[in-house]
């Protein structure tokens, strides 16, 4: 439980899941579990050309870091990497990545899920749809289920 390695990045560029995992596991022989969650852009029945993600610089990072730090306190997590992209993202492309490493699987699974549940409702990001037919796209509505998902941890 000493020296947990927590990395949070908010970036325009895509990320490489394998490379990010390697940063957490390279040279380590004590890690028994790696849980990875990646969120991708859905095309919504081929109607969307992209999702545009707006964020609040500074607060986006601090809210993700708060969730990651809480998870690291709550479970014996060795490493936690969270990357969230902003800007225009095409269907099929990656939006968010959470990797949690631990000795055993429960902490890795739970830690990754906890971070995602809090990130969804607390990190200041907003998605706007860009439609293929050129019509003005909608801002994606917040989902009640996301608020409820967070309550599982209280």
């Amino acid at each position: 439980m000493t020296s947990q390695r927590i990395t949070v990045r908010v970036q325009l560029e895509d990320f490489d899941q394998a490379a990010e995992t390697a940063l957490l596991t390279k040279g380590r022989t004590d890690i028994g579990a790696v849980a990875t969650f990646a969120g991708l852009c859905r095309g919504e029945g081929d109607t969307l050309s992209a999702l545009e993600l707006e964020h609040y610089p500074g607060m986006a990072e601090s809210e993700i870091a708060a969730a990651a730090n809480d998870a690291a306190k709550r479970w014996p997590i060795d490493g936690l990497t969270v990357i969230h992209r902003y800007g225009k993202i095409s269907p099929g492309k990656q939006i968010v990545l959470v990797i949690a490493t631990s000795r055993h699987r429960d902490a890795a699974f739970d830690g990754a899920r906890y971070v995602m549940d809090f990130l969804k409702t607390n990190a200041p990001f907003w998605k706007k749809e860009h439609r293929k037919d050129g019509a003005e796209g909608n801002w994606v509505d917040a989902r009640e289920e996301d608020e409820l998902a967070k309550q599982r941890w209280t």
Binding site: G39, L53, E54, H55, Y56, G58, M59, A60, S62, E63, H84, I95, V96, M116, L119, K120, T121, N122, A123, P124, F125, W126, K127, K128, W139, V140, D141, A142, D146
Partner: protein, 88 residues
């Protein structure tokens, strides 16, 4: 807080409806709570009226920390006003 400029930032459809991403304002002394602030902004013009039509769903951050509408505004350097978040 009288006479002090505060930066207010707007995001997502709140930004689109008010027609700007940020501004400097001098908050009147009559504003005590976050809800007072939202009600004051709402009556400024039609854009603010549309953005803050349902103030109860609007989220507010003071110096990048989420706050409830019942909280006192105090003297933050930066206020942010935005819809529920949809990241991830």
């Amino acid at each position: 807080m009288a006479g002090v400029d505060t930066t207010i930032r707007y995001f997502s459809w709140v930004r689109e409806r008010v027609g700007k991403g940020e501004e400097q304002v001098v908050l009147p002394d009559t504003i005590v709570t976050v809800m007072d602030l939202l009600m004051w902004l709402k009556q400024r013009d039609d854009g603010f009226g549309a953005a803050l039509e349902f103030p109860e769903i609007i989220r507010v951050a003071l110096d990048q920390e989420h706050v409830d509408h019942t909280k006192n505004v105090g003297t933050p350097r930066e206020i942010a006003i935005f819809p529920p978040m949809t990241g991830g």
